[in-house]
């Protein structure tokens, strides 16, 4: 559904800084795709380019990113380049940011922030009806209706992140991009959020792209994994396959560095 064709992305016009270097990637329908890599590997930049967010001075220097979206129900197909994805935001494509303290408007109740992003056709009409639908949707993921009346500062970090996942999923999009959604949360909460995202993907049968530096997260939920290093994709394939038999040296080091419960104890190097 999304085709990234030999794309080079970077910042700046006069002095162009390459962040993503000639990348090829396909995002299929009904899958969870993980993008792994260290800080500065280009994974967030690639995600922004796929989302079509060029507000930060991002520029596609060569190659194309194209999308093909079949609308739920009608099956009407929209084809577009990522430069024009803006009109599909919170309709066909949505986005889960890292749920830091300041990602929700501190002066707005959660309900309003859910409603705010919805396409016009959803926002018009009966507000009480809409609220009931949102509440039912949230309850499906163990969030009480009272969350809708809360201000962001009244929610815990985990709650806030789950709200962000819910806001992105409520519009029933074909593609959800999640940028480090579980970073800075403890593992118990992390697990809850990962399960919530898997649940949503299984129900909506759409595509979820998960960007994270945490291989453990990828291991738990992704179907397919892409490992980036210095702006290039160094390895791609089914997640289980990569973990069982990493080909690239960088991936091998990454996987070797994960603590194993059945591993042998090694002395710390002095």
């Amino acid at each position: 559904m999304i085709k990234v064709d030999n794309v080079t992305v970077g910042y700046g016009t006069t002095a162009f800084v390459k962040a993503v270097d000639r990348v090829n990637l396909t995002i299929n329908d009904n899958e969870i795709l993980g993008i792994a890599g260290e800080s500065g590997s280009g994974k967030s930049t690639l995600m922004r380019a796929i989302y079509g967010d060029f507000s930060t001075g991002l520029r596609i220097a060569s190659g194309t990113i194209t999308g093909r979206f079949a609308r739920n129900g009608t099956g009407a197909v929209t084809e577009a380049e990522s430069h024009d994805f803006g009109q599909l935001w919170w309709d066909q494509i949505s986005y889960i940011p890292q749920g830091s303290m300041s990602v929700l408007n501190p002066l707005m109740k959660v309900e309003k922030q859910v409603v705010d992003g919805l396409p016009k056709r959803e926002r018009q009409g009966n507000r009480a009806e809409l609220r009931r639908r949102i509440a039912t949707f949230l309850e499906g993921f163990g969030l009480e209706e009272s969350v809708l009346d809360a201000f962001p500062h009244q929610l815990s970090g985990g709650m806030r992140q789950r709200v962000l996942v819910a806001i992105a999923a409520f519009v029933n999009p074909r593609l959800i991009l999640a940028d480090e959604p579980t970073t800075a949360l403890d593992v118990v909460v992390q697990k809850k959020i990962l399960l919530m995202m898997v649940e949503i993907q299984r129900r909506q049968r759409n595509s979820l792209v998960l960007v994270s530096h945490d291989l453990g997260v990828h291991y738990q939920i992704t179907d397919r994994l892409v490992v980036m290093y210095q702006g290039k994709i160094v390895e791609a394939g089914p997640t289980a396959g990569i973990f069982a038999n990493p080909q690239h040296e960088y991936t091998q080091t990454l996987i070797a560095s994960l603590p194993r419960i059945d591993g042998t104890r090694a002395e710390a190097r002095r």
């Binding site: 408007n105 501190p106 705010d116 992003g117 806001i167």
Partner: protein, 332 residues
């Protein structure tokens, strides 16, 4: 319950601030070497009136009673606080004897309030509007022009601007009156136009300077807010510029401005002084000026006590309405 505690807390702080201010006001004049009673007696003696010693003592005693200067310091203090807080009585004015100080203040207060409140609010609304837009689109040429204008305006001391306006528009081009003369029957249209006419220049001198400051401060707010994650998130949700500005940037930018507004309204009592003197505007500032020049001790105490109370009240009122506009305070 929590809200009640918040309100009670604010009221206690308010009372403490007022009492503290009045206390300072009580002690500061007493630290000086001048004794108003002796000064008064000397004035009487210098005018050639002859009094024998017992008459002088009687006068001294009656003046001390009138001024609240009899008894020990503590008794005086207690009487002073009680008199002001309970009865609002500052005694008669000395320079306009026997008109009570309170009456003079009450005559002047509507003028000061009318002039300063109106001009401060106009400047606040205009300044925030312009600042918000120029912070939102800092690259556009109109924002740059507005910013330039604001930067030129805000460092000008308002009395200099008042003087310049007065010279330009009532001396060189005689459009507006040089000094304030209000004409017209009470509650008539003539009176209203006369007030507006006479208040225009003093008002403008305040609006123009304060406007520049609001533009600069709200512009800085807006520029910072634009980079906030929640604004970026709203943009990525596909919200249009108008909605982001109205619902995400404006409410967050305006919050601190409301606090500043309260402080401004409190401070405007001092700010009004020279403006009112320059334009001969019959407000509190002019009254304070008269009191200082004439050595009218009661009037001075009265006007200054009132500004202490006004500043404290303005701050308290803002503190009380703040929870209504900021949920983070309301639900703490």
């Amino acid at each position: 319950m929590r809200l009640l505690r918040y309100i009670a807390g604010r009221l206690v702080v308010y009372a403490l601030v007022v009492v503290f201010g009045l206390t300072v006001l009580f002690f500061v004049p007493r630290l000086g070497p001048t004794d108003p009673i002796e000064a008064m007696l000397a004035k009487v003696a210098s005018q050639g009136a002859y009094m024998d010693a017992s008459q002088v003592d009687a006068l001294r005693q009656s003046l001390a009673d009138t001024f609240g200067l009899s008894g020990s310091l503590l008794e005086q203090y207690w009487a002073f606080i009680k008199r002001i807080l309970l009865t609002g009585d500052f005694g008669p004015s000395l320079s306009m004897y026997p008109t009570p100080v309170m009456e003079l203040i009450m005559n002047a207060l509507p003028w000061t309030f009318g002039l300063l409140l109106t001009s401060t609010l106009i400047a606040w609304v205009l300044g925030n509007f312009v600042g918000l837009l120029s912070g939102w689109k800092p690259e556009s040429s109109s924002s740059r022009v507005m910013e330039g204008v604001a930067i030129c305006l805000y460092p000008i001391p308002y009395y200099i601007l008042a003087l310049v306006l007065s010279i330009l528009f009532s001396y060189i081009w005689q459009i507006f009156p040089l000094t304030t003369t209000i004409r017209g029957a009470p509650w008539s249209w003539n009176l209203v136009t006369s007030i507006l006419w006479n208040s225009f220049l003093p008002g403008a001198s305040i609006v123009i300077v304060v406007f520049g400051w609001w533009v600069i401060s709200v512009k800085a707010q807006t520029t910072a807010l634009k980079e906030e994650e929640f604004v970026r998130y709203a943009r990525l949700k596909g919200l249009g510029d108008g909605r982001i500005l109205a619902r995400y940037v404006l409410p967050n930018a305006i919050l601190p401005q409301i606090t500043f507004l309260a402080l401004q309204i409190g401070l405007m009592f001092n700010g009004s002084l020279i403006t009112e003197i320059l334009f001969d505007y019959p407000g509190l500032g002019l009254l304070i000026y008269t009191a200082v020049l004439q050595g009218d001790f009661n009037l001075l105490m009265g006007t200054i006590s009132l500004s202490v109370i006004a500043v404290a009240t303005a701050t308290m009122v803002i503190d009380l309405i703040y929870p209504l506009i900021d949920p983070r305070i309301r639900h703490r």
